[in-house]
Subunit: 366 residues, 4 copies
């Protein structure tokens, strides 16, 4: 567990609730000298901002980031970076009903059991708005990684039964389609599917995927510090994710070794793998191929259809949830997966810099 | 990453290589006063011991554990527990061939890239024998959890395409079948399937599952400290695991919210869930239902059939791996999953004890 | 090092610079259910606020705290608490001179060497204003400890050669004297001594002391987790502290064992110590007596008298520092020591709750 | 607290009791490629070995180290290093008396209060033999630092009232004198003083000092990660240390700023300090001057003279401790201070490698 901090050398602590005054993040260990502006961060926050199409919540939030520390004359100073986003669109309404019962699929019951009471306004700390801090910090990790030649790209792989066809992969489409799919044709079908679900007062699940290119071989540690273990933790920590796959993931369990092993080959004087079933990680350490992470996301638990539950007095009741909810989590969570992957990789790449004695000698003796 | 230590309050550091003199683990933070003998630990090690049937490696190891510290007069003292297992069956042979090339699916290449060289004898630190330390520590976690009313039980869910039928679940079968399946009929078919693969000089993958009963609601932390995130990390850190599912896992992504939400009901004055798609965790915190973790394991990368690879001189070569290897990892890894789950849960339950001010007051004021 | 976060279960991350828009702290792991208002925190911040007498800097800051998360209906929720204090009194002036050279006794040179450049406005992150986050978090730790019967009280022990006489100890005086001494007579002499130093454009050092009452025996861990080791780290992390003592501290090195050992006695059925040379800690674990920590603080490095130094071009130059500086650090740092001690103790007391198996059993089985 | 592990990137976990079968340490994160043999470690262990002169305990222990993992073909592999030392000289005797009461100045009472019972044989985990793991790991840190041009040298500064005169400093004397003083004349007087104390059945305290040369400017982190804070924690974690000083330490509190500030000067094109009152650390970060740490050690609590204490039945009793005890801790603890300093510095230097973005770019882009 180790508290609710993420990372070892590039370490973040997020904070804030759905209906509090603000949310944010403190970053400890960001390397000094990175050029950084609020725009660098804002462009990531804009990708998770609500209210952008009819398939997301109608809650309108500007989600403007404010840099409070750690930047001087346009560059990171190496000390703590504090980022803050004000909540502006909390609708003042009566929460007494929602306070009294446990919404199915939500953390209402578990928070009450753990802490004895909960901030019930919009889910409090368990709200999806919690990811603002992740994305703000992740934007910095992504920018840092790009300086190192590493690109992190997440997208919607499928929505309900509608899957993107990666042979039609178009990077531009991820930012332009309402579903964040890289395949415009699948997007159109997925939107139709979603509209049908919305009509039925229902919600749907989906799959998101993240591909990382440019990671050198050798990143990650053996045993508990495996890179895939760190990615699994980071990915599963995103609310609503119920499964994480690396590379071919669940498919490997039905295969023969002769099918699943990736042969090593030489290409332009470099060791490469003929295939990439492994998803870029062998023995917990990157092998130089693309790293592939997949996350299975459950349908939004807040649905407008009637449901059965119990209230705090222990009575079984029927409820109908109101409010403003996304009918699907995936399109806005794609950037969260991208950020969590980037945070994990940057931390691992920083850790990796002192794994050989000759690197230390070169650093301190030159 | 945070180095290669696992856990925060119940913290373990494992060590040792396949062909070194010994392997072991140091445990920091085990509560004082737990009755503990070498037998308690040995019974877990015996479940992962090699050489027990024709579907495991022929390497014979007694894997006898020795307690070196932290126990006094049969009880844990609260200070560091050191456990050691001597390697006894390293066959002295010529490793120069294996040293020269990179076995597909193994960590040979990635270790070389990371560290500049590697202990190539039997995989060194990346060998499956590394899990001895996990199981030795996990045995203590399991015993501690039983004192708290928590039972952790892992088993083989499927081997290749052969799945156990859980309607025929028989706990005793897990310890008695060669596959660690809880279903003797599926076991028989799986063994036949494995024998066929062995004949073809191939290996196969499988799925293992872990069910935890008796965990109270309220365990786990929000955001990055989610219980499922910690379980995902612990599970993915087991060599050869390529996917982790919680509860219904990958299936949730194709569902409607109305199908996937678990309704709350009352049962004997207790809040319960009518179904358990969530696998016992909501918002990263246990909900009182059974916790269900599933791990997809790739086929053993060491196969006797010819393969293509490259050597350290950058030449493409054909190889045929010799030595003693398991044709499937799953049956011996089931106890590792059980232990990793137990280590994660115990740490989370210890952390949970100070999450309410009134618990502190009661502890210190009474 | 472990990054710049403090604590394990009650964990804080502070942020902010002297001349940035704001400073603050994020607290992870504060137990749920503690009644908490901004006033609780403000009263601590007021004790370190500048501009309160002629022996402190003339910089005027309201240092008003704003609670941004983690409190709901007047109580802590158990999730991240974010606290923010706006800077309001930065004087807009020309920093180009101070930017060009290294002030003796300050971190200018070391920050430049570490990070390649620095935020030179008022010391940036190395400014004493950095302690705002510590005090804001420490106020919460102090309040929590009071609920557990633990009182933390720091005061000025000496200023230059003028020492408080503890036989005249008056708790009220700590808050009322300009020096934070518990002895009004020594305070008068110390103020005279300070005024003399101010006239000479000089600064002076001093000693602060913290006494903790009500800590039960058994807090702290063996080996590296010793309570005195944690206190030493926390105390030495306060800027300008150059020595830390526990109990009789430096005096013990000149003693015989027969003089220094504290005999155990019985008092009202309780084990007590006849003396307390040990300062309440034996073997790194609290023994039930008062805990005593002492910190030696160097004179403020910013003095108005001329000094020699070098500039960034490598030229030896003479400088005269201007600006607003405290002629002594101690009176305003006393509350920082109190807070650092409280943060360390609360974390240790939370950790201690799961050190016995029977505590776990009682917690989960009752 | 963070458990009883030390270090972040170079992390150690020690284990073992005075009268258990063995003691040892596991090191996680030692850089790969360091040439390392058992001799490298043994030479450090020999410096803390008991039974070497009449002023140390008569317990004879060979303290032979065994490397169990992490070394391959004479070099560290980058994976966990496990080191073990067998206890061989436990005298089998009746511990029932010592088990029944609390020795003054020892951890008997605090362990009992914390854990409910204790391993009373020779102090169990609180024995000075616990430092074997520290020294074994520290030997590796020292060797690593030497590769980076850093030399760590600890010695006895004073014993009771007898202080070494550093104008007579002779490095060779540290290894050859019985007191580990660098001044043979003071050594002679100190031995006489000790012999007198032994005759009186008493013990004495002393001061040890550690000087580190060759540390580049820029090591350490701001705020809680200050290098002096880490050194203070590491030093105070050594049993019997009651005060830690950096540079001029306790003397600074009685000075004026004009006396205490170290002027910067140029010397051969390098920025240097004209004096070193700061002890090589400014703002928590190394400034390129020698780092100086001083530790005040209490007299050995085990004395043969009669003492008063209480037993577990709550009766006040008179005791006379038997057994084999050092009349002074300092001479054998000097190497422990050296090792703790080295472990802290190496960890800080590893952490420092990724504090600038251009270091990352150079590492990954070249």
């Amino acid at each position: 567990m180790a508290g609710s901090t993420l990372g070892n050398l590039f370490r973040i602590s997020t904070w804030g609730e759905s209906h509090g005054p603000a949310l944010g993040v403190v970053i400890d260990g960001c390397p000094a000298g990175l050029a950084l502006s609020e725009e660098d961060i804002q462009s990531y926050l804009d990708r998770r901002r609500p209210g952008q199409s009819q398939i997301t919540t109608s809650r309108k939030e500007a989600d403007q980031v404010e840099i409070l520390s750690g930047i001087f004359e346009g560059r990171t100073t190496g000390t703590h970076i504090s980022l803050l986003v004000r909540n502006t669109s909390q609708i003042s309404r009566d929460y007494s009903e929602i306070a009294s019962y446990y919404r199915p699929g939500h953390a209402d019951y578990t928070f009450d059991q753990k802490y004895g009471f909960r901030d019930y306004r919009g889910g409090g700390r368990s709200s999806g708005r919690e990811t603002i801090g992740r994305v703000a910090a992740g934007a910095i990790a992504c920018k840092s990684l790009r300086e190192l030649g590493v690109e992190v790209c997440a997208y919607t792989r499928s929505i309900g039964p509608i899957a993107a066809d990666l042979t039609r992969f178009e990077a531009q489409a991820i930012r332009e389609t309402r579903t964040a799919m890289p395949d415009r044709e699948a997007d159109a079908r997925a939107v139709a599917y979603l509209e049908e679900a919305i009509k039925k007062l229902d919600s749907v699940g989906g799959v998101m995927e993240c591909r990382v290119t440019g990671v050198p071989a050798g990143i990650g540690d053996p045993v508990f510090g495996k890179l895939d273990a760190a990615l699994a933790r980071a990915t599963m920590s995103i609310g609503a994710v119920k499964a994480v796959e690396i590379g071919d993931g669940v498919q490997v369990s039905a295969r023969y070794g002769s099918e699943n092993n990736d042969a090593f080959r030489m290409e332009q004087g470099q060791v490469v793998k003929a295939t990439n079933h492994a998803g870029g990680i062998l023995g917990g350490i990157s092998d130089g191929s693309d790293i592939l992470v997949r996350a299975h996301v459950k349908p939004t638990p807040s649905i407008y259809a009637p449901q059965q539950t119990v209230n705090q007095s222990g009575e079984e009741i029927d409820i109908q949830i109101r409010g403003r909810h996304d009918p699907i989590i995936v399109p806005r969570a794609v950037v969260v997966l991208e950020c969590m992957t980037a945070l994990t990789l940057l931390d691992a790449m920083m850790t990796n810099m002192c794994c050989r004695m000759d690197s230390l000698t070169e650093f301190y003796r030159k």
